[in-house]
């Protein structure tokens, strides 16, 4: 038998709280319902306090991630076979082609390179073998070897390969131990992260360059990129090839040859540069975590922790609470727009901050991270003033889509 007035006032107060106002703000708006509203609102706010700790949340999020990714891959449409074969041919046709390849030109095609007339048959035969269960990894390595040979003989041709992205310096990436040039605007470049396994479509130049056309992330890297800037290429046991423009150079297959990128002249002390004949002086590039141009890499500085943004958080509060600056948080986390930070988004911070938006004097819930920051004074006043700015994105005005019945539409 509560009157409609109270029910509506209560509802309005819930919206006000969501918009960043305090309980007191609300009580001032409805003086005739002060005592009832106060208890109702405080009870309702308990729901906020009942939510799990951000540590529990983060752990659950990581544990579930793999399952979701597996389901994503399992539900995928079959991947397209590499150039030039498409699965339109099907398994049966592949088998027929396999036999034909065995009978004749397969042997002849074994040593062919991209650009050779028999190269297509070589790839056909490989696809047939994979259809029968051969491990693609061996063929992926063969792709990269072919590219090395093509580069060395100075042929200009389209190529495709896959490999792990292990290092970067500006526009020069190292993918599958191949030096790849990734210019601005290459599709897929911005989605790749250091450590990912990538599918690359590229072309070679007569000058020995390998230029990316298109990048696709096949498999994300397992670990976040290491934060410490490294001065060396990947461990010296990795075989590398010298790629120079001097025609007199013979390829060295030594286990620890020098990796040279003719476009980056910065010198490092780790290995002696090789210069052959008239080739320009070459040396190891200095590899840094955040390339001067190209993709920003989010990384975790030593001692920093990951924190899930809570509703009510602002970067200025987080910076103040953890002893850093907003600029630093943005730099570390590759944030470009401080206004566009999403509740639930994870950022690296120097330490775990106290929970947001507590009224002065109210103790944090026992489940909060750390649990050792009772009643930490919050800049609640300032935060609330700002939180009103985004009422329109909290649902007050996003009713444009809420009434659409398009949950089940199947058109593209």
């Amino acid at each position: 038998m509560a009157d409609h007035d109270l029910i509506n006032a209560f509802n309005d107060c819930i919206d006000r709280l969501a918009g960043g106002q305090t309980v007191d703000d609300c009580l001032r708006a409805y003086p005739q319902h002060t005592s009832a509203l106060r208890v109702l609102l405080e009870t309702g706010r308990l729901v906020q306090r009942a939510r799990p700790s951000s540590i529990e949340l983060a752990q659950a999020q990581e544990r579930i991630r793999g399952r979701v990714l597996d389901a994503w891959h399992t539900a995928a449409v079959p991947a397209r076979a590499p150039y030039p074969l498409r699965p339109l041919l099907g398994l049966a046709a592949s088998l027929v082609l396999l036999f034909a390849a065995l009978l004749g030109s397969a042997v002849a095609s074994q040593n062919s390179l991209p650009g050779d007339s028999l190269y297509g048959i070589k790839r056909l035969a490989e696809t047939a073998q994979m259809a029968l269960g051969a491990d693609p990894a061996a063929f992926e390595a063969r792709r990269r070897d072919e590219i090395r040979q093509v580069l060395q003989i100075g042929r200009a041709v389209d190529v495709d390969f896959s490999g792990e992205w292990t290092a970067a310096s500006g526009e020069d990436w190292l993918v599958g131990d191949l030096p790849l040039r990734v210019l601005a605007g290459v599709p897929g470049a911005e989605t790749a992260r250091l450590g990912d396994t990538l599918n690359i479509r590229a072309y070679t130049t007569t000058q020995g360059g390998l230029i990316a056309r298109r990048i696709e992330v096949v498999k994300p890297g397992l670990l976040p990129p290491t934060p410490t800037p490294t001065l060396t290429a990947p461990p010296t046991a990795t075989p590398t090839m010298t790629v120079t423009i001097a025609p007199t150079v013979t390829p060295t297959a030594a286990a620890t040859a020098t990796l040279t990128l003719t476009s980056t002249p910065t010198a490092t002390p780790t290995t002696a540069p090789t210069s052959t004949g008239t080739a320009s002086p070459t040396s190891l590039p200095q590899l840094t975590q955040t390339p001067t141009s190209g993709v920003c890499q989010r990384f975790q500085p030593p001692g920093w922790v990951e924190y899930a943004i809570q509703p009510g958080d602002t970067l200025s509060r987080l910076a103040a609470a953890t002893g850093t600056t907003v600029q630093e948080i943005m730099r570390i986390n590759c944030l470009t727009n401080p206004r566009l930070v999403v509740a639930g988004q994870r950022v690296y911070l120097p330490s775990l901050p106290p929970p947001p938006a507590l009224s002065p004097g109210e103790t944090p819930p026992s489940g909060s991270p750390g649990g050792t920051q009772p009643g930490a004074p919050q800049d609640q006043g300032n935060d609330n003033a700002n939180d009103n700015d985004d009422d329109d994105s909290r649902g007050k005005n996003d009713n444009s889509d809420d009434n659409e019945d398009d949950d089940n539409d199947n058109d593209d």
Binding site: N8, F10, N11, I14, A18, S35, A36, L40, T43, G44, L46, V47, Q48, R49, A50, R51, P52, L57, A60, Q61, R63, I64, R65, R67, V68, A71, W72, A75, A76, V77, V217, P311, T314, L315, S316, V326, R339, V341, V342, A343, G344, P365, G367, N386, D387, D390, S393, R394, G395, K396, D398, D401, D402, N403, E404, D406, D407, N408, D409, D412
Partner: protein, 192 residues
Amino acid sequence: MIVIVLPDIPVEDRLLAQARQGDQDAVMKIYNSYFPPIYNFIRLRVDDPTLAEDLTSEVFIKLVTALRGRSAPRHSLRGWLFQVARNVLRDHFGQMRRLSTQALDEWLPDSPDSDPELHFMRTLSSDLIRRALRSLSPDQQEVLILRFGQMLSLQETADIMGKQVGAIKSIQFRAVGALRQILSQMQVERNG
């Protein structure tokens, strides 16, 4: 100067489109954005964190499956996800017999001095609050979680729940009253 924006702004439409085209990074961005609210929602409805994980993973597995099969939503992803979460909960609990609306008397303030009450509420552990919350009917729990926990608008909550806004207003009012009564009862039992 710096504002916080909840998910479900138009940027999400573009992410959805990219995900439908097979962009795994877009899928992961969606997952990172929406895992917390969905997990928090489910976690308040079930008392076992492992179960909450399983049910939450079901929601996102349904999402990625729908994205591959092109039946995923193009807008209002948040609402879609909450609806799927509700369905997953329903499936888990089986056919929930609707609790009588309301075994508990409607609560009205009986004294102007509610400070001891507020003090009591401040000392409640999240565990206790969750337990009290789960004594409510599923609809009441979910309205409270969406309105107070997720701070969704009245209209969006109504859409997710499949009800009219007037019904949501009623439910939230009665739910909070019922919650307060349950907590009072717990206080009596604790002190008695």
